[in-house]
Amino acid sequence: MPINFAAQLNSVLAALILLTAFGLLAQRRIYGLLHLFAWQGLFLSISTAVVGYAAGQRHLYISSILTLALKVIVLPYILHVLIIRLGIHKEIETLVNIPATMLMGIALVIFSYHLTSPIRELSTLVTRSTIAIALATVMLGLLMMITRKHAVTQIIGFLAMENGLFFAATSATYGMPLVVELGVALDILIAAFIFGIFFFHIRTTFDSLDVEQMARLKEED
């Protein structure tokens, strides 16, 4: 596989990651969100392996396998179990105006392209063109956390943001040192468990996972 082809393949995978990020913004059903999140993890894992091959960085293979195990299998599984345990029957979430959110998303993509274009000029890496996509994925995850009301979907938005950060690290500097990546992976795993505990607490206190309920903490009627 020549380096040129690997770079093209990485571009395609970056485009797919961006597409799944937009899919997460638009998806109404919780199980659909989980699937899209798992797909995003899969594309991220393949992309990391491709970059590892193109750049000749062995440790990226390990991060790729780590991503595959954690973000494609373990995290979606944990969230799936949580959704069943919490008994979220109403799995469809009403959203505020999807087309408007999409337009905001497009604006964010253009913004991150503008923001990263100096880096693109300076960088000499094979992956320099995907930095903008990585930043856009982070921003789209953030947008998802802002526009959603349900706690579980906000967590998925947070994890998508983390995907974007990981992708940014891979495309800007060929990945962080392995120790850091292992630490981050462990953090995410622990975070998922803590989220689970929090979900149960939120539900016992408010009878719902809708975070808008939390605005009514005051003792007024």
Binding site: S11, V12, A14, A15, L16, L19, V109, I110, S129, I133
Partner: protein, 315 residues
């Protein structure tokens, strides 16, 4: 000499468009029958329908104005003219230099505008309803269509269709996410523009859901035949436009007559696959509520814009 030849080719292409469009529609219907386990009427049934309509008398409403009588000819003419611009068999088209892809979108828009006017002309409730719905959909589909077309133009650095075919078909094979996004957007727009299942259903006259059928409900006889024929050509043209923009391999080059039979063979294969793909989409999806259509076309616009952005960001 070569000029005469290219004019001849142009004529052959228009004849092909006129004759093959009903066959393509027949093929789509046949595949759909196969998938639904029904007996087919054969791929030549649209011809018989058209002949029957041509023999019938026209029933014209008393208050129908010239717009109503003029529209079928205009719609038909626009479709034929569009077929003269798109490289179906060969890129060597004299008319192709007179109009680029933006003019092509405008041609479709003009035909639609007059159909909508004719729908309101007689003053029946269904015509007005169909017209208003059609214009709603058009106002959302056209920007997305232009975006998708611009993405292909950016890649090939030209808005002339012949030029686009030459650049994409004969350049080296590169994985281009921008073209993949544009293709996705184009498929969604084709479904909306040609009135296929998730947006409109071409086979029913169910009062509450019809869009295109609502507008042409008052037409009869040869007027109806012309409009139906133009509708078939529109489906054929969108398929050919998609082939020319995204899969142009096999379209004959300028001044190369020997490859024409091969080009025809390629075209038939690609059209057969395109028709089967269309049927798979149509049988796999349910018709959506009218109020979901903006979301559907919004996602088409999103894909087209992402295609354009990924051209700048990734390529």
């Amino acid at each position: 000499m070569s000029e005469i030849l290219s004019y001849l080719l142009e004529g052959v292409q228009i004849l092909l468009l006129l004759s093959a469009a009903p066959v393509f529609t027949g093929w789509v219907r046949t595949v759909r029958c196969w998938l639904q386990g029904r007996t087919t009427a054969g791929i030549f049934q649209p011809y018989r329908d058209l002949t029957k309509l041509f023999y019938k008398d026209i029933v014209l409403a008393e208050n129908a104005s010239w717009i109503f009588r003029f529209t079928p000819y205009l719609v038909f003419g626009a479709a034929v003219l569009a077929g003269a611009i798109i490289p179906i068999l060969s890129v060597d088209l004299p008319l192709s230099t007179t109009a680029d892809v933006i003019a092509l979108v405008a041609l479709f828009a003009m035909a639609r505008f007059f159909t909508a006017l004719a729908g309101m002309d007689v003053g029946t409730a269904f015509g007005g309803m169909g017209s208003s719905r059609e214009m709603t959909i058009a106002s959302l589909a056209e920007p997305a269509m232009l975006m998708a077309v611009f993405t292909v133009s950016l890649v090939s650095k030209s808005t002339s269709l012949s030029q686009m075919v030459q650049v994409i078909g004969h350049g080296q094979l590169i994985l281009r996410p921008s073209l993949a996004f544009a293709l996705l957007a184009f498929v969604l727009i084709t479904l909306a523009e040609t009135g296929r299942v998730p947006v409109d259903n071409p086979v029913t006259h169910l009062e509450l859901t019809m869009i295109h059928e609502g507008m042409i409900l008052e037409y009869s006889g040869r007027h109806l035949a012309l409009i139906e024929w133009a509708g078939m050509m529109k489906l054929f043209l969108f398929a050919v436009l998609g082939i020319a923009s995204f899969f142009p391999w096999g379209i004959a080059e300028a001044g190369n007559l020997i490859t024409l039979p091969m080009a025809l063979l390629f075209l038939m294969t690609k059209l057969g696959l395109a028709g089967a793909g269309l049927v798979l989409i149509e049988t796999g999806l349910a018709k959506m509520r009218l109020f979901r259509v903006p979301e559907f076309l919004g996602s088409a616009f999103l894909f087209a814009t992402l295609g354009m952005l990924s051209y700048f960001m990734l390529e």
